[in-house]
Structure formats: C-alpha cells, structure tokens
Symmetry: C2
Subunit: 660 residues, 2 copies
Amino acid sequence: MERKPNDTKSLAIAAARSLVIDMTNKAKSGHPGMALDVAPAMVALFQDHLVADPKHPDWVNRDRFVLSSGHVSALLYATLHLAGYDLSMDDLKSFRQLGSKTPGHPEYKETPGVDATSGPLGQGIAQAVGMAMAEEAIRAQYPGADGVFGHYTYCLCGDGCLQEGISQEAISLAGHHRLSRLILLCDLNGATLDGPTSDAFSENLRLRFLASEWNVLEVKDGNDVNAISKAISKAKKQDGYPTAILIHSVIGYGAPKQGSHKTHGSPLGEADGSQAKSVYGYPYPDFTVPDEVYSQFANTFGKRGEAAYRRYQATFQDFQAKELKEAQRYLDAFEGNFVDAVVNYPAFDSEKAESTRSLSGKCLKALHDAIPCTFGGSADVAGSTLTNIEGEPMFDILSRQGRDVHWGIREFAMAACCNGIALHGGLLPYASCFLVFSDYMKPAIRMAALQSLPVAYLFTHDSIAVGEDGPTHQPIEHLAMLRSVPNLEVVRPADYVETIGAYENIRLERNHPTALVLTRQNVAPVGGNSVEGARKGGYLAYKPKGATHLILATGSEVALCVKIAKALNENGSPVAVASLPSVSRFLSQSEKYVNSVLFLPRDKRISVEMASTFGWASLAKHNIGIDGFGASGKAGDVIASYGFDEEGLRKKVEEILRLG
Amino acid sequence: MERKPNDTKSLAIAAARSLVIDMTNKAKSGHPGMALDVAPAMVALFQDHLVADPKHPDWVNRDRFVLSSGHVSALLYATLHLAGYDLSMDDLKSFRQLGSKTPGHPEYKETPGVDATSGPLGQGIAQAVGMAMAEEAIRAQYPGADGVFGHYTYCLCGDGCLQEGISQEAISLAGHHRLSRLILLCDLNGATLDGPTSDAFSENLRLRFLASEWNVLEVKDGNDVNAISKAISKAKKQDGYPTAILIHSVIGYGAPKQGSHKTHGSPLGEADGSQAKSVYGYPYPDFTVPDEVYSQFANTFGKRGEAAYRRYQATFQDFQAKELKEAQRYLDAFEGNFVDAVVNYPAFDSEKAESTRSLSGKCLKALHDAIPCTFGGSADVAGSTLTNIEGEPMFDILSRQGRDVHWGIREFAMAACCNGIALHGGLLPYASCFLVFSDYMKPAIRMAALQSLPVAYLFTHDSIAVGEDGPTHQPIEHLAMLRSVPNLEVVRPADYVETIGAYENIRLERNHPTALVLTRQNVAPVGGNSVEGARKGGYLAYKPKGATHLILATGSEVALCVKIAKALNENGSPVAVASLPSVSRFLSQSEKYVNSVLFLPRDKRISVEMASTFGWASLAKHNIGIDGFGASGKAGDVIASYGFDEEGLRKKVEEILRLG
C-alpha cells in the first residue's frame, strides 16, 4: 500500500488530479498540465467557499464560477462530480466524446454547474466581470429585496488569459467599478503551450493589477491549499476592490515532466499517469474515488449550498409577501420574460426622413421605460449611437442602480461582459458602437451566439455614408461577417416601423443575440409597411403590376429603391421591391410566405445593399453593392462616387433590366 | 495687433493649431479637440527630434511616426505641411474631401509622410511596436551594415488607444522585447467622446507601463513644449526599455469649451475658432502661416533630415562597396523583391496523406531558408500550427537576429504588429494561430487589407475536424468572414501541390495580405494537379466524360470529393470536381479560363466545404456545408455526424443528383 495523504482534503485533491489523468488518458485528448497544478485551488474554492446547490444548479443567487482557462475542463468536471452535481463517473469516462455531458471545453447548458462556455482565452475574465457587474446592479435595483440577493463571482484563469488584451479591458473595468465581490484566481504555472511563459511575457502582474485598482494577494505555493483558502477568505472580506490571487504553481504537478510546457496539451499516458498518482499518494484504480472524498464534499460544499438555497427561499418568500409586484418583476427579469411589458414607442412622422440610429434611440428609450432591467451603453460613442437614456444615471460605484453603462473604449470587453450579464440573468443587456468596430467584438459575438445569449448589439454608422471619417470607419464586409455567424440575428431596419419590429423581437425572443445595424444619415420612411411585416424579417414594400424584376434591399436602400422602382414603373419598367431587414428571420418563415415575397425567380432578383455583396447570391442573381473599401469625403459625394445616389443606383438597375 | 507669441516655436504651435481650426471649420467635419491640445508635442517632435527627409518620404531609414489616434489627422497634415512635405495649403483646404491627399484619418500611401493608416484605436500602438521590432531585427540581420541602419519609432496616442486591450498586448510585447528605440507619446487630456475619461477609466498608467517594463516620463503641462522636448531627449538616451511619455493636457486648448469632451468631435466654428486663435496669439487670416514658421521647420526638421539622408547614402555606398551581395539582399528585402530566391520545397510523396499544416510547415521552412528576411511565428501555438523553424533562434533581447517570433497569447497584437513590420519594410512577416482565433485578429487583418500589406496568416485547425476541443475551437463562419474582406486573399489548399502554389504566390506578390487555411488532420493528395494550376486559384481536379454535375471543393474536401466522384462515375453518374483553393484569385483569371473550369451552369454545380455555406451561392446552386456550430468529440465521429465522412457526403451529393 502506497503512502496516502494525511488528510481528506489532500486526498480530495489527489482524487481530482487522478480523475484528470484518467479522463484525459481515456479520451487520449485534453490538457492535463494546468488541471493538475490548479487542483488545490479548485478544491479550496469548492470545499471552503463557493456557495451553490448542486441540486439546483440554476439557482439565480448561487456564486458564479467561470473557468476562463476552458482547457482545464477535465478538472472542472471532476470537481463538479465530486461536489455532487448530476455528473456521473460514466459522464467523466466519456470525456470529450460526441454527445457527452463532458465536452472538450466547458459549454453552458451542456453540463450542470457550468456557468459559462469558455475556451477562447481572456473572455472568461470578461464574462466574470459582467456577472459581477450584474450582481451589483441587481442588488441595487431591488432595494426592497435587501438580503435576498447577493453572491460572489469567482473566475479561474492562467497566464494565457492574462496575455490577451481583453483581460486588461476587463480588469480595468472591474477596478474602475470597484467590483469587490469579484475574485480572480490566477494560476501562474510559468508555462504556456510553446514554452516557458517568460519566452513571451515579462509583466509584473502584481503591479498591473494594482495599476487597475485591484487588491492583490499572492500564494507562493500552489499546493498549499490552506494558503489558497485563506487568501480567498481575505478576498471575500474585501469591501473596496476586486481581488486577484496570484497563485504560483508547477505545471503538470506530479507528472514526470512537471514544470514543462510539454504536460500542457497531451494526456500523460498510463506510465506517467501512474507515476503521478503515486506522487499524490493515490493508490486507487482508475476512475475510483473513496467515499470519504464524496462525504467531505457533501459535508462542506453540499451542506453549505443546501442551507444557503433554503435560506434564500425563505427570504425570497418574505420579499414576495412584502412586495409582491417587485418580487414578480425580479422573477420576470431572471426568466427574461418581458411579454407583458407595455412599450410605448413614441409616435412617428410617416413623412419625415430620420436616421435609424435616432429611431433606435427612441425605441431604446421606450424599452428602457417599460422594462426596468435594461442595462447597457456604448463604447464611448453614446453621443453618436444615440444610446444615451435621458435622466438615467450612469452605472457607477456611486450609483449602482444606474443602468447606463459607460464601457469606455473597450468594444471587446463590452461584448464579452454583456455575455456575462446575460449568463448571469436578471438584466437585459445591450452594447453599442459603430458597425465597423464590430470587428473588435467578433470573438465575443460568436460566444454570445454559441451560448444562445439574448444580447442586443446596436451598431450605427453602417455604411460608406459615414462620409468624412473614411475607409477605416466605413463598414463594407461587416454585414456579411455578422450574417455568417450561426444563431446571430442581423437586422438592418429601413425606417421606424422596421426598427420597432426589431425591438419587439428583441423584447420577446430571449434565445439568441441580435445585431441591429443602423444608419448615421437620415432615411425616408418606406411607407405603407407594418410592424407585423417587419417582424417577419421581410415583406414586399412595392409591387407594381406585371413586375419583371424584384429588388431585395435593406436599411437605407429600401426607400430609395422604392422611389427608383416607382419611377421605373412610370417609364414602363415595372420593378418590385422587397425589404429584408432580417434575412435569416425571413428565410425561417413558412415556405408559402417566403415564396410570396420572393415571387420572381432568382435570376430576376436584384439585391441592393450599400455594402459587400458577399452572401447575397443565394437570394438574387444580380448583386449591387460595394466590394472594395470606402473613401473619405462628404457623405453625399462618397455615396455618389459608389453609385448609390438615386441617379447612380437607377442606372445600375436599368443596366440589369436591359440585360434581361 | 493682438499679442503674438514671444518665440517662433510658440508661433509654430499656434500656426499648427490655427490650421487645425481652419481645416475642420472649412470641412465642417473633424476632431479638433485632441489636435489642439497635442500640437506642442507634435511640434517638439518634428522640430527637435524626428529624423526624416520630406524630399524622400519613403526613405527606409527615416524615423517612423505613427499617429495612433488617427482622428488627430488635421494636426498631422498641418505639421507635415509646415515641415515641408509635398502637401500644399490647398491640400489642407480640401481636408476630408473626396479624392484629396488629406482624408479623414491618415491613410498610408495617400499622403507623403504618413507612415501608417490609423483610426481604429489601439492598433497604431501595435503597428509602432511592429516597426520597432523590425528596426531591431534588421539592424541585427545585416552585421556588415553597421552604422547604415538605425532609427527611432515614435507613436502618439491618447487615452482612447490605451483603453483598448490591443494596447496592453502591444505594450507588453514592447516591454518584453526591450524596444528601447520606441517612444510613445501619450496625450492624456482627460476627456473622451462621451465625457471625462474618469467616467470609465481609473487606471494608474504610470504603474501599468512600469508593470510591463517600460521607462515612464511625465510632463505635467502639455503646453510646455520644452519639457516635452526634453522628455523625448531623455527617452532617446534610454538604452534598456521603451519609453512612455505621459503628457497631461487640456482638450481643445484655447477654445472657449476647452477641457470639455464637447471639443472632441466637432469643428469649433468661426466664433470659437477666432477666440481660440486670439488665445494663441495668432492674428493671421485663415490658412495663413508667416514665413518664419516655415523657415524654422526648414532649419530644424528639414536640415536635420536632409543631412541624415545624405549621410545614409554615403554609409550605404560604403556598405555596397564592402559587401555588395549583402547590400543587394538589403535592397531586395526593402523592395519586397524575392523573385530570384531559389526555394527548395522538399520533395513529397504523392501517395501519402498528410495534414496541410504539416505541408505548410515544410514550405515555410523552405521559404525561410531561401529568403533570409522572413520574420514571424505564432501566438503560442507554434507546436500545433507547425510554424517552428528548426534551428532558428527566437527573436529576443538576447538574439535580435532571431527570426522566430514568440508572440505570446496575443493574436490581435501579432496581426497588428505584422502590419507595422510590413509597413516598415525589410522583412517578410507572417503570423500563425488556429483559424477560429482569426476572430481576435479581424480588426488588424482588415487594416492589412486596407493598407495592401503583404502579411501572411497561417491559420490551422480549419474545421470541425479539430474534434475534441469542440465548438469554441471549431471554425464555421471564419472562411466566409475572411473571404468577405476586400483585398485579402484566402487560400485553402488541398494538398502539397496547392500549398506550394500558395507559398509561391505569397513570395511573388507583395501587394496584399494572404490567409492560408490549413487542416489539422491528414488529407490525401488530390493527384494529377500542378503548382501552376493551383497558382491560378482553381482548376479541374477530375472530369469524367459527360459529367452532369460539377463539385466545387476546397482544402480537405477535394481529395474526398474526387474519390466520391470516381465512385459515382463508376455507378453511371459522372460528376466532375474542381478544386478552388483561392476563390478570389480564380475569379480574377481570364473569362475563358474561368469558364473552362466552371464548364457546367450554376444550377449543376455543388459547392462542398466543411464550413458555413455563406457566400458559396454565387458559384453553385447547391451548397453542402455546416451552418451551425460544431461539437466536441473524436474528429471522425464529429465529421461523420455532420455528414462529411465519405458515406455521408456521397449521400448528400447523390440526393442533389437525384433532384437533377
């Protein structure tokens, strides 16, 4: 019989590590390196601190935990298993197998206890920051619910996450907002995939966190579980600043190659695995855990969570008894149920040309007034995206109830934090900037789509009509980029009616992200359209008798196309116009409806969009757009030079009509 | 007569400021705020320090200057005009007009003296870091040219750039690499577009720079031109670290609304402009500069640059005389002329299945050996993207001649620095990571395409065949995203022949960026193809007699489609296969050639790509692909579950054939 650890906690750590070895060995895939070194931190967190109830993994008041270094998934699954979540030993044995509950990286909704999908480095930290912001905001938004709501947000990251720029944006935001209930465990094992961290990184992390107004604690020995636990205790008592706990560890601890980056990305194999287990003093067969480990988790994590859940239920019932309406509002907010909200979109002038950014601003204000848990803002261009809500205080250390978020010039963190806010629940997050800078947000937009999160992006300045700011600020390929993301709805409304339609869909459908794409310049109303039609994603805007061609247009081009089509019709060339604010939604309607709008065959259809034509050929043979970069100049001059003024566009259409 | 400044330098600053007011007023557009406050820094830099010759703006050994806050363009143009560049007063008067040399944001190659396109915040810093890396590398790569080459790189940024995460990645890299010839002027005017900087930002920047091993200097009064100049002098003497000079200024200095973010984005107008000019003591009519200002620039900046240019010519001639071949290598490198390089791509086994990442690695090595100025690496996944060059030292403070760059886990900075390296010239930059993380690089890839920079991206792990790592690591929409970027060539080679073709195009065409998209898994060779065909971007890979349908495939699907087509042909269903490694290149061939490959009409064509079908409809009516997210599992299982194994794919094709 080999040496066993002296105490059950050490045995639990050994069990977690051994499971990691077994899981990655069996899968012949995975990343044991960091999972092995960070096991003590994970056990300390779960056994001594984390408040969550494995029987109610979706309980809204649980502590949140984000594994930013998603490649450490094996350790997370092992820990969740030990901690009593609905994750069996068989689930662990099917690690990284198709259809299992234990995929390669943590996936939200695939595994009980997994609070966020992670993997793309750095974004987990931002998701955690978003959760911590949500926690602060919600606590402030229900003053009558004092004592009901309140939890910590924990995040575990490695050196890799901290090298990504998004980490700095998120760290900076967390410090600025003094998110003292945010605790970031930084596992610094000195190795990344390609070698020692020092090959590419020589930051003084303590200083960097201090520079962003964080509290910094340090644990010199990543195996010192008590030191880690004490540091977390200390961090929880912090009432001024978020805390980073820098934990110095040895990658692949216990493995013959420990300390080397070579343990990062490949299973240890049988021999090295056995050797490691003997270092841990873990004499059990593969996938075997002694009962005392389960008992210990049950007696610590399990009991604490169960009691907390029970306590929460009691305080919540008090809240309900005291303030029924407020309690219902709270429940609706967490369920994302805004069906009954009465949104008073202001009346509009059906004659007046107005920018869709301005119309969007009015809708946002109406939504804000009707749904008191909207929460968002802009990456420092609120004055241009018109997302300022008059009278709404800024979310701030001094006004936690404020729902207007000043994200600063941090588009990526804005989007990734919004993912965290949506994951957290209880708020309706939105984010705004110029469409061209959706580039900066793309990695987080993808994560929103992958996690089916109801985040709204309000992108303005949507074409070369931006004018003077020139090609760096003029979107061309961005509509294509966004439309190609699965599960992301892209809406480019043409007028107020369509903008309201988009907002209504955002309010009523809480199962996917939506990108609203809005003009800077004024556009004329389409005329004769309805919110109902707009909400279908596409409809016929103009259909003269005997139309030989059908124009498919979006946004700023719709009214212009209708105007041109009317003129053409008067000249004996009847051309119809369909407005397609949301192509994906339109195509998801019944075949009958789709065919009624696309009433002419593809080779008689002409797409018109002041952007890249990429992607339009599926709907129309003829594609009018811009497949090069823009230019700086007066908006009118630029538009004309690309042939998107009335005359230029009419000529392009006529040319296509001539060719048949 | 109003009060005038006491000295010519102050008058020059007043002139620059007044020109900014005149330019933005005349254009009724632009961003005077920061331009007004940062004018003293700009004048100090140009008059006292910057070494560049306005008569030879492309001189390879000039100091580089990147205006990271591109919205300050008016000040840059005004300064370039005063400094003697080919930029007339009329050019300044046509600021932000279509076709002018003075576009809204600085654009590389549009204006003499503009070293980089800028505007998207934060990226300018990274471009400057890339330039400074290039400077260090080139100095080390030509030991015989001692004294010929060597310059400083200056960058001017504002609070905004420093909020973007990319800035931290770039700052971290610069500190790690001890780029002591990099000097970053940080204009801290305490305001951004939406309000005071403090609304969203409370970092201690001094600490943050120190944390990344920078030298930090501070100038308390942004109007103290001598203090700024002294700080730059001090920074130039630094021999250990890059220097950040934190300059505290007042936004919109001189304007009635100075100190307010309201001066940021709108011209002052006549009245406020006049008032500001009287604060500066500048009594001249609009667009008027007294001769003494021009003279002073000519006597300082002009003379210094001319002398330096002359000195350089002399030392370069010595170098040529001493080492003719080395001097020619240097010239070729700066011209991007690698036509005569003899690249020994190793022989290959036409029977052996091999991953295209592995084949790419062999080509990269061959290119590296043939062209001694390749310079690049990976964002910490070199072991997976197979971009390690055996025996090549790492670029480092200890080995500046090393051409293997460890970018760390900083994809965005990697790409943006590569832009800086390409802008600098003298090196052939490449960058590598997993295709899915091209998301992180998108903003910089766009900037490469916009600037027509010859950067090569080596993206591996290009599909769901990644397997176990799951949907966060499986690209779906990324090919569409990249193909929609104007001026970016996207190549997804099918085998070694096509990979060589791609590398040959990269070597020989130095006028656009290229993204190579490569498999993780082994793929069989197409068979019977040629590098010549591959270099055309598309060719027929299999054409049975009487083919009724034509499959268009790329990368890992080509050999599989040929196999399936052969089997179908044996069963009496002749289907041809075209391989289209580079769709954009293929479509740029002669109509005759394109038609010879696409020899059947569109409705008889079937695109096959293990990725989003978005964008394929322009070439084929039938599109086989994956329009949702991937899944974690064994690669074979995942591939089969999406119907991309041989059987699944054959069935999909047969179904299409059945429908006619």
